[in-house]
């Protein structure tokens, strides 16, 4: 829990499937940063800290982006942890502000992610991907999460129609998000008949690849109070990396180990949540994380999936998540944070969750061989 820091603005550049050639990675990052500063009512020249996460910014780094943006900084960092990069940046930025190293920090993530960039990213994701997976050939983790889904289905007696609840429920939310790339309602029949990618996974179990950027601004509580705009506090934040050395079946995630500490530090329980933003690279991972973080009452998966998510439309991944809004490379690790901040500040328009005061956000990812090695989560609250 931190009393010294508040999040005061957030924005997402529109996600697009096929950007014009002149729109580069830095274009999307810049749009998100400018949007977040406008949302916060903070001028660029007040920013003294910048954190960036991107797979495709190279050969530029955070400092080059800062220079292009005309930012003078006292704190700069770059994060490479993909789906866990947003919360990882947040964790570091909180400490920087608490320590007085910076007062106002902008964090941004994004990628131009077209065919060429996508393959560069997946082939050179890490040494193991390059040397042990890409030559099979396997580029991108779809087959790995097909294996994981099969294990999970076997262990829990679930079928495709159960995992379908995640993308179908999220699609219903996406219909109210003008920024989502898939917005048309989806029914079970459409899901069951969708194009196989790595069976049992189909097109609707895999994130649409898009280009875009996300950003948010955080500052001291004192500075935030002067803004007279809604602000968001961080009640708790925890991370765990490489917890199982890739040796487990991955059905129990690293979240199981940190959930107790997270809820205790936040002084909250899962049942207190008004909304949750669970990293949704694949439906099975939403289910695994929900269980390990205590979101599934009595461990009853069918009731959680069919009842809570699908029938009750409990607010989870209210942007439509990455499965409907799209995954803009590293921005996937900030998408949930930006949506949570937007909801807690009461700025989510048609999809606004009434009385949203407390939200959970998770980050997961960086497949080092078979499954993700990075886990982090934050509990956010509306201030004032």
């Amino acid at each position: 829990m931190t009393d010294a820091v508040a999040i005061v603005g957030a924005a997402e550049s529109a996600y697009v499937r096929h950007p014009e050639v002149e729109r580069r990675t830095e274009t999307f990052l810049a749009e998100a940063v400018v949007g977040a500063l406008e949302d916060a009512g903070i001028h660029r020249d007040e920013v003294d800290g910048l954190g960036v996460s991107s797979f495709s910014l190279a050969p530029d780094h955070a400092i080059d982006f800062a220079w292009r943006m005309g930012m003078r900084l006292r704190w700069v960092m770059e994060d490479t942890n993909g789906g866990a990069s947003g919360i990882n940046l947040l964790q570091h930025a909180i400490r920087a502000i608490e320590a007085g190293d910076a007062e106002t920090v902008v964090l941004c993530s994004g990628d131009r992610m077209e065919k060429r960039e996508f393959h560069l990213m997946t082939d050179r994701y890490n040494r193991v991907s390059r040397d042990y997976l890409a030559p099979l050939p396997l580029n991108g983790p779809n087959a790995l999460f097909s294996f994981l889904t099969q294990r999970h289905a076997r262990a829990n007696g679930l079928g495709r129609e159960d995992y379908a609840c995640v993308p179908i429920a999220q699609r219903a939310w996406a219909g109210r998000n003008p920024g989502a790339v898939y917005r048309a309602p989806m029914n079970l029949e459409e899901y069951m008949e969708s194009v196989p990618i790595a069976p049992p996974l189909t097109r609707f179990d895999c994130v649409p690849i898009v280009s875009g950027g996300d950003a948010f601004v955080l500052t001291t509580r004192a500075r935030a109070a002067r803004q007279a705009r809604p602000a968001v506090g961080i009640r708790g934040i925890r991370a765990l990396f490489n917890h199982d050395q890739q040796d487990s079946d991955a059905l129990t995630t690293g979240f199981a180990e940190i959930a107790g500490e997270l809820w205790a530090s936040a002084g909250a329980r899962p049942e207190d949540l008004d909304a949750a933003y669970v990293y949704d690279d694949y439906p099975v991972m939403v289910v695994c994380q929900a269980v390990d973080l205590g979101l599934v009452q009595d461990g009853d998966l069918t009731r959680f999936l069919r009842g809570r998510l699908l029938e009750d439309q409990w607010p989870m991944n209210t942007s439509g998540g990455q499965l409907s809004a799209g995954q803009a490379g590293a921005a996937g690790g900030m998408h949930g944070l930006v949506e949570a901040i937007t909801q807690l500040r009461g700025r989510a328009g048609e999809r606004q969750v009434d009385g949203a005061e407390l939200a959970l956000v998770t980050g997961y990812g960086m497949v080092v061989y078979k499954h993700g090695a990075c886990h982090n989560a934050a509990v956010l609250e509306r201030l004032g």
Partner: protein, 134 residues
């Protein structure tokens, strides 16, 4: 071109690692012995349908992509290996793993290692079968 599949085994504690590590996750040891690990059991199978029909490799040339059958194989020494499999293989099947140098995708100055495997008793036929795919 194919060779028996191997994993690294920690000289100090016997932990079997694949892909290779620097320090042993179990005991912290830094010495490894290469051990043959070519028999195992298939746990899951999928067929990967490429998102894009053609793709450009990092060094510029284009590769036509087709279906690839892939499996998760638990070796008898412990490590689970992601491998290319013949279409006929099912979860629960006992299989033999090979290391295979893939000439179509080797990186400049670096011979990438692809694995494929065959059902016990018919290694040659199945190796040929899987080599022709993808």
């Amino acid at each position: 071109m194919s060779a028996a599949f191997t994993v690294d085994v920690c000289s100090r504690c016997g932990y079997a690692a694949y892909p290779p590590r620097i320090l042993c996750p179990a005991c912290g040891g830094a010495e490894w012995r290469r051990r043959r690990a070519d028999s195992g059991m298939v746990e899951e199978v999928t067929v990967r349908r490429p998102v894009f029909k053609r793709r450009q490799l990092p060094w510029g040339n284009w590769l036509d992509q087709s279906e690839t059958w892939l499996g998760s194989v638990r070796t008898d020494l412990g490590p689970v290996v992601v491998a290319r499999v013949p279409e006929s293989v099912k979860p629960g099947d006992r299989v033999r793993l090979h290391s295979q140098a893939s000439t179509t995708i080797a990186l400049p100055g670096h011979l990438a290692e692809a694995t494929s495997f065959a059902p016990d008793g018919a290694p040659d036929a199945a190796a040929h079968d899987s080599a022709g795919r993808g």
